[in-house]
């Protein structure tokens, strides 16, 4: 976090900015109440008041399509199922769901806890490094730096169960890798 104190021109602008901030609080609160009139605040420059009002009216609320919402909800549910507290050796119903967008190549690192998705610098570095990586073959499927979560589960399970039958041999599902502490 940066210093809470402003300096130079920012410090001079700080007082005006505070007045603007108060006005915006009132403006947005009025909009929330459904009030048609904008708050009167003679302390704030009229042009800024007008600009604030135009922006408030112009930046309309938008909502994604219902289809998108449900599709993403399904993907999240799949991921939750794969990462949830499944018992080792239990069978997860495998429902292939076609991704509308390419799989996120950083997701594996995030799942592993080696990348914090809220850290701008770390994410930028990872994105930069990703462009230099080569395609990866997992379980016979070519993925260009994108590994499906099922693939991750499969690789993890196979790594810890090298001598047992692989999940690929089971026609109706994959084994849960989460929490698999060596028991099948």
């Amino acid at each position: 976090m940066t210093s809470p104190y402003l300096s130079g021109p920012d410090a001079l602008a700080g007082v005006d900015a505070l007045v603007t901030d108060r006005y915006l609080d009132a403006l947005l609160a009025a909009a929330e109440r459904g009030a048609s009139a904008t708050p009167a605040d003679t302390a704030l420059d009229e042009d800024l008041r007008d600009a604030s009002d135009v922006i408030r009216r112009s930046l309309v609320r938008v909502h994604p399509s219902f289809r998108f919402e449900e599709r993403l909800a399904g993907r999240l549910a799949d991921m939750a199922q794969e990462s949830g507290p499944a018992r080792a050796g239990s069978v997860i119903a495998f429902r292939p769901r076609e991704a509308a967008v390419p799989a996120d190549p950083l997701l594996v690192a995030i799942l592993e806890g080696t990348l914090d998705p809220a850290d701008a610098d770390a994410v930028a570095r990872a994105e930069g490094a990703r462009s230099l990586t080569r395609p990866l073959i997992v379980g016979g499927a070519l993925t260009s730096a994108a590994i499906s979560l099922v693939g991750v589960a499969l690789v993890a399970w196979r790594a810890s169960h090298a001598s047992t039958r692989t999940a690929r041999e089971r026609p109706d599902g994959v084994l849960a890798a989460n929490g698999a502490g060596g028991h099948a």
Binding site: A17, D47, A51, R56, V60, L76, A80, V101, A124
Partner: protein, 214 residues
């Protein structure tokens, strides 16, 4: 709504301002399937932020999808950092989620720079439905103002634009925006103040042009 909790242990009795999403977050941590509640709550906000940033429905959906998948993947490591000064409505989960969204969108914008710029007006389908249908002339002026304002917002430097979008579209407090952008609250206030000045100048110039044509 945030609540104050008074600890009853034999040690200190700290007053902790809770993240208003704490219950939902804890539930989702125990059972990731319950993440759906947080997803439904914040989907419109994240999507709107992405759409205004990227001016493209498909890119916005892509960014929204990545944001929520990353959030679910990282949820076990999310740390609540609510502070009393964040106010009773502050949600550190929301701040954390928007930090993820900001990073996803920043990468998408870098990719977009290699492609032709999209029109936000078109992306919104002239969703500028602010005009009164019975007042054609007045409606045209309002639409023109809105289009000018959108273009002006879109032309702002990154941090100013993000601060304006988070303030107006997602109605975040200054403290929350500061958390998302990693800046002080004072700096955020100045960013927004200067952004409004830029938009006001564009609106003034646009009105001057309209006046010159009439």
């Amino acid at each position: 709504m945030a609540r104050a909790v008074f600890g009853r242990s034999e040690h200190a009795t700290p007053v902790v301002v809770l993240d208003r999403d704490r219950r939902l977050v804890e539930t989702a941590r125990r059972d990731p399937a319950q993440f759906d509640a947080l997803y439904r709550k914040y989907l419109p906000q994240v999507y709107a932020f992405a759409l205004y940033e990227l001016a493209n429905h498909h890119a916005a959906e892509d960014a929204t999808e990545r944001t929520f998948l990353r959030a679910l993947a990282a949820l076990p490591r999310f740390r609540e950092q609510a502070r009393p000064e964040d106010g009773p409505e502050a949600s550190t989960f929301r701040v954390w989620l928007f930090r993820i969204a900001r990073n996803v969108i920043a990468n998408e914008r870098r990719t977009q720079r290699r492609q032709p710029a999209a029109s936000l007006d078109a992306a919104l389908g002239a969703g500028l439905s602010i005009a009164d249908a019975t007042d054609v002339e007045g409606g045209a002026v309002l639409r023109d103002e809105a289009a000018t304002a959108l273009r002006a917002v879109r032309a702002l430097p990154d941090d100013r634009r993000r601060a304006v979008l988070l303030r107006f579209v997602d109605e975040m407090s200054t403290a929350e925006i500061a958390g998302v952008l990693g800046k002080s609250e004072g700096a955020v206030r100045v960013l927004i103040h200067r952004a409004l000045g830029s938009v006001a100048r564009e609106l003034g110039a646009s009105a001057g042009r309209r006046g010159g044509h009439s």
